[in-house]
């Protein structure tokens, strides 16, 4: 049985109050959460002024960028002087853990609050207040424990919607009273310490109810249908060329990808620019080449570089200006390569990234 705290108010209001109070009494130095800025945009912010907590919308169903990437950047040159309470989605927390394993940040000083994640709407829906208009429908679906309609395909297909490394897990999916009661599962001593003095009722119960299991089944079915639609098996080079034929080479997917952290990307390297003689050679072979070359190369290369750590957050698809279903490909290829090593990215910070370790006797099937 796990311990949980029940506050007698709506979930988002409860979180806001808990964090506001923690700021006021100095239990945390800062809060990192989504915030609605004065012009209506929703972005991640670091907040130290308890007053400003009024603007925090930690559960807003949008992911302006993967917070794992932001927190890695925040701690790249050294850990925060905590405690800093962080409210992020499970895939964002997983991305941060992956980055920390790759020495791109630190978990030190953070107190992680996450939730059973119902998913987010596509980023493009954040324009013109579209998401705002969908809030009622969103929270009704969350209460029902069903997969929320119109959220991103990657979110629909996500089976890792229960956070792995959170100090506090907020119960959202299937919480019938999400607008009346705030239920916080206290997973660690740090988490339990934070809620001291905030009132409410302490009880014991299970986060992973039968309802949540049923929800997982629904997501798994969604994943299967996403994979079926993607039809990667039998895709082949022609299929890849077709999918990426509309890629404009903006590299937005790479910038938005939390796992792509290199400052100097190999695909921007001068070494991969063709010499005039290379163009000639290629033209002799083919009679025509796409300009600029290397579109397929870039995407295949990125798959081999980040596939092992892909958390399936969907940011790549979200930012793609020509709507290439990148995350469906990355999710499926990523899962295939992760399976070789029985690896779930971002689950355990102590577990090495599979490419940074080995067993002396293994994988003999690939040697010939």
């Amino acid at each position: 049985m796990a311990k949980f705290l029940e506050l007698d108010k709506g979930t988002e209001a409860g979180i806001r109050e808990l964090l506001g109070q923690s700021l006021r009494n100095g239990q945390v130095k800062a809060v990192f959460a989504l915030r609605r800025t004065t012009n209506g945009a929703v972005n991640y912010s670091l907040i130290t002024d308890p007053q400003m907590m009024e603007e925090a919308v930690p559960l807003f169903p949008s992911m302006p960028s993967n917070a794992g990437q932001l927190l890695s950047r925040l701690t790249l040159k050294g850990p925060v002087e905590g405690p800093v309470a962080v409210v992020v989605r499970p895939c964002e927390l997983r991305a941060l853990v992956e980055l920390v394993k790759r020495e791109q940040g630190s978990l030190e000083g953070f107190l992680f609050i996450s939730f059973t994640c119902p998913g987010v709407y596509p980023l493009k829906a954040s324009a013109n207040g579209e998401i705002e208009g969908k809030q009622t429908q969103y929270w009704e679906a969350v209460k029902s424990g069903k997969v929320v309609p119109e959220i991103r395909p990657t979110c629909r297909a996500c089976e890792h919607f229960i956070p792995y490394n959170a100090d506090i897990t907020i119960s959202l999916v299937g919480n019938k009273d999400v607008d009346k009661r705030c239920i916080l599962f206290l997973n660690t001593a740090k988490g339990a310490e934070l809620v001291k003095g905030v009132g409410g009722k302490l009880s014991e119960g299970e986060l992973e109810t039968a309802e949540l299991h049923a929800h997982r089944e629904e997501r798994l079915a969604e994943k299967k249908s996403l994979y079926d639609q993607g039809q990667l098996s039998g895709l082949g080079m022609d299929g890849l060329i077709e999918i990426f034929s509309r890629c404009i080479g903006c590299r937005g997917c790479r910038s938005a990808c939390p796992i792509c952290y290199c400052n100097l990307c190999t695909f921007d390297s001068f070494d991969y620019e063709y010499e005039p003689s290379t163009y000639e050679e290629e033209l002799k072979k083919r009679g025509g080449v796409r300009i600029p070359p290397n579109t397929i190369f870039y995407h295949l290369g990125r798959l081999t570089h980040v596939g092992i750590s892909c958390v399936g957050c969907g940011s790549c698809t979200d930012v793609c200006p020509v709507d290439i279903p990148l995350s469906a490909i990355f999710l499926q290829v990523g899962e295939a390569v992760q399976k070789i090593f029985d690896y779930i990215p971002g689950k355990d910070v102590e577990e090495d990234v599979p490419l940074a370790t080995f067993e002396e006797v293994e994988l003999t099937e690939i040697e010939e």
Partner: protein, 142 residues
């Protein structure tokens, strides 16, 4: 092309300490083998980023061979163990996207195994001949 015998083009990434020396031994022992392989000497099989292999395939190589020291014999102690994981990953990526993973081969060949080098090259060349030319060579929209 039609009347001439098809000679595949295979790019071989050979580790300096074992497989390149093995190839050298095969050569100086005058072992006969098909002239299909273009060797690239690398300091260790783990030095070969999978994107180099992707490059070779996209630029039209019919086959790619990576050869290194036998497990346990790496000059740098564990380079080939890392390489093995990396290429298992690459092969899985190719498999998932149906990109002819059978055009890729990973083999361990020591410095003293000239005959084995000959064997691997002969076998792999035959195998690639069976597959025919890499169709990617003709794609114009990569």
């Amino acid at each position: 092309m039609a009347d001439k015998e098809y000679n595949p083009k295979i790019v071989g990434f050979l580790c300096n300490w074992c497989s390149y020396a093995g190839a050298d031994l095969a050569g100086s022992s005058k072992l006969k083998m098909p002239p299909a392989i273009s060797s690239i000497r690398v300091m260790c099989s783990s030095r070969v980023d999978p994107v180099l292999i992707v490059t070779a395939f996209l630029r039209g190589a019919d086959g790619v061979l990576v050869a290194g020291c036998h497990p346990g014999d790496c000059h740098y102690e564990k380079g080939n163990y890392y390489a093995r994981r990396r290429f298992a990953l690459l092969r899985k990526v190719m498999e998932t996207l149906d990109l002819e993973p059978e055009r890729f081969r990973l083999s361990w060949i020591s410095a003293s195994e000239g005959p084995r080098f000959k064997e691997v090259v002969t076998e792999f060349t035959e195998h690639i001949k069976g597959l025919g030319p890499n169709p990617v060579k003709e794609k114009t929209s990569l």
